[in-house]
């Protein structure tokens, strides 16, 4: 890691006890349960898990973008110590895109197809850069685009479909970073729709922005290589719950939760030895399915017996640096390391 997380100790974003429920076929089903997160200045926290584990829902809940019938409850969402639950709707709009911005997964669909890039950019400036005079907008846009490696001269009147996916993702990052007050960037699988070389460039760009502006980031991804490359800290989610929290090195070297282990095991080796690839059996439980014990128990390779099927495990501290895991086995973390040697 290029940046020592300890160098930035201030907590910028803190989420406590977040719960989100969606309306599904007339019933209210939990999509995220008891989610907590803490991000410090300049820190990149990865949020990983399979599709449907609630990662994107977490980001949308933090930004306050979910509307009824979706319900969001929490014990507090703090941005620079300020509880966003107590902020007025008007103030919240200033925070969205101002201090807390989001980058989306699919760049071409994240721009309005009927507007030019310049117009979409200008609107954001008018919302979040009140100090800026209207005639200086274009110069500022060019400067911001330049920062993400795009020469915007003569392109402001172009429409989104006239750019490539990679360019659009850069432009979206530039738009998200337009506010000088930006503190936290929420990135929802920012590289999923890009090819590998472009992905590397975009990740590089995000890292540069973190360093230049001390931005904190929450990076949602299901790609563990992105996590290894980018993150300082990782939160692993499964079926709407946090199952493991760890420093990135710790996670890869000593994964504690069986889900994390099985995820890591599912990465193919290269060169491959020709044996059958490991695939996790089963699928993520449906949201409306009430599981009495551990939600991962049916797919778990380290199943302990009745306790896993009947008692929901609690996310508890298992080591220094906020190391946490929600597994009945984690109680015997040391013995676990002795019995199973590593992941692969």
């Amino acid at each position: 890691m290029t940046v020592e997380p300890a160098a930035y100790s201030d907590e910028v974003l803190s989420v406590r006890g977040l719960g989100t429920r969606y309306a599904f076929q007339g019933a209210s089903v939990p999509a995220v349960r008891d989610f907590s997160l803490s991000v410090r200045e300049g820190e990149i926290v990865g949020l990983v898990g399979e599709s449907g584990s609630g990662k994107s829902t977490v980001l949308k809940s933090i930004l306050g973008m979910l509307k009824p019938p979706a319900e969001v409850t929490s014990d507090g969402i703090f941005l620079d110590g300020r509880d966003l639950r107590e902020v007025s709707a008007k103030e919240m709009r200033r925070i969205r895109g101002g201090r807390l911005a989001m980058v989306f997964q699919d760049p071409i669909n994240s721009f309005n197809p009927a507007w030019t890039i310049g117009n979409q950019f200008r609107r954001v400036l008018s919302l979040h850069c009140p100090h800026l005079h209207r005639r200086d907008y274009d110069a500022e846009i060019l400067r911001l685009l330049n920062r993400v490696g795009i020469d915007g001269r003569g392109k402001l009147n172009s429409y989104p479909f006239e750019f490539s996916q990679g360019q659009l993702q850069r432009i979206m990052i530039a738009v998200a970073c337009a506010s000088p007050d930006l503190r936290v960037l929420l990135a929802d699988e920012p590289t999923t729709s890009l090819d590998v070389t472009i992905e590397a460039q975009v990740l590089e760009l995000l890292r540069d922005l973190r360093e230049e502006r001390g931005l904190a980031m929450v990076l949602v991804t299901h790609d563990l290589s992105v996590v290894a490359e980018m993150c300082d800290k990782v939160v692993v989610m499964y079926a709407g719950r946090v199952v493991e929290v760890a420093e990135v090195h710790d996670l890869f070297e000593r994964p504690q939760h069986p889900y994390t282990r099985q995820l890591l095991k599912a990465i193919p080796d290269f060169p491959h030895d020709g044996r059958r690839l490991y695939a996790m059996r089963g699928a993520v439980p449906r949201l409306d399915e009430e599981v009495p014990g551990c939600t991962f128990a049916p797919r778990c390779d380290a199943h302990l017996g009745d306790v896993c099927d009947e008692v929901p495990p609690v996310l508890r501290e298992i080591g220094p640096d906020g190391r946490r895991s929600a597994c009945h086995k984690a109680n015997h973390a040391t013995s676990l390391e002795e019995t199973d040697d590593g992941v692969r």
């Binding site: 973008m65 919240m92 989306f104 669909n109 309005n112 009927a114 609107r123 919302l127 979040h128 479909f161």
Partner: protein, 321 residues
């Protein structure tokens, strides 16, 4: 853009010729003899034959068609059998009433259908949405002659005197009276289309509101009302505009029934009346007029679509180079 318009116009020519052949043939196949109607029932066979000759009805249909078509290309639609005046004049005389009726109906469709659809989408699956959906379904399902008859029954029989339910006053003559007279026919003409437009707007709006760029705008702190009015509406209205264009054609067709029920002297009634007395030149003239308007409106909509949608515009421009 110009190239597009020209190519569409050219491709409309065969369509119109086909329509003219079909209508011309069908008209001649219909029972009834204009010569008989013109000469009177007591006319002797010799007189009848002479009248038929003077009307050129004794020639084969394709010769008649060819004569008619070559006149048409010179801008001459022939003369009415009944009062000998040129068909173009007859149509021009009846046109203002139909135009006024169609314009009023179109206004109603846009002013009622679009907001209803938007409201319905914004309140999706809530009370207001359910009511609007049922109402628009009812509107779509009930043919406009039923609506017209119900309105006449309501204002002509049960509550007479509230609203004028027949006749027409040109807008240039007496503005207030003109508006009053046009309201009921316009409602009757617009009702099915209002429902259709409301449903189109609702589904299109819901689709657009679910798009990522709407979430993205929300995530950048854009006000909800701005998102609806500026971000969503423009994209959502694209398919609605297309439907509206096609509806202008249907309005002309629908006015045949509505004008008859409300006794409005428009081209719809002209069509019915002229057919009743087998005044072939007028009937075919009105049919062609409606066909031409229908085709032209569709071309205009096609071209306009490109103006609203930058992607399609780019497609045209790429095609030109």
């Amino acid at each position: 853009m110009l190239r597009l318009a020209v190519s569409r116009l050219l491709s409309a020519v065969p369509v119109l010729i086909l329509i003219s052949i079909v209508s011309f043939t069908l008209l001649r196949l219909a029972p009834g003899d204009p010569a008989l109607l013109s000469a009177g029932l007591e006319a002797s066979p010799e007189v009848l034959e002479r009248v038929r000759q003077s009307m050129r009805l004794d020639e084969p249909v394709w010769v008649q068609y060819w004569a008619w078509l070559s006149d048409l290309l010179r801008g001459d639609l022939g003369n009415s059998y009944s009062d000998k005046s040129p068909v173009t004049e007859v149509i021009a005389e009846r046109l203002p009433a139909t135009l006024q009726l169609s314009a009023a109906a179109l206004l109603l469709i846009v002013a009622v259908g679009v907001p209803m659809g938007i409201l319905s989408a914004l309140r999706a699956n809530r009370m207001a949405d359910q009511v609007i959906r049922v109402a628009s379904l009812a509107g779509v399902s009930v043919p406009n002659f039923i609506v017209a008859l119900l309105l006449v029954l309501l204002f002509g029989w049960w509550f007479p005197g509230l609203m004028p339910y027949e006749g027409f006053v040109p807008i240039t003559e007496d503005f207030a009276a003109s508006i009053q007279h046009i309201v009921l026919p316009a409602i009757a003409l617009a009702a099915p289309q209002v429902g259709l437009v409301a449903r189109m707007t609702r589904s299109s709006m819901l689709e657009v509101l679910g798009q990522d760029y709407i979430s993205a705008a929300r995530a950048m702190g854009v006000r909800e009302s701005v998102i609806v009015c500026r971000d969503a509406l423009r994209n959502a209205l694209l398919p609605v505009v297309t439907v509206l264009g096609v509806q202008i054609g249907y309005l002309l067709g629908g006015s045949v029934v509505v004008e008859t029920v409300f006794s409005i002297p428009g081209i719809g009634r002209l069509l019915v009346d002229s057919f009743a007395i087998r005044d072939y030149p007028v009937t075919i003239g009105v049919m062609m007029f409606i066909a031409i308007v229908f085709v032209l409106v569709n071309i205009v909509v096609d071209v306009l679509y490109g103006v609203i949608n930058p992607r399609i515009r780019a497609g045209y421009e790429a095609g030109r180079s």
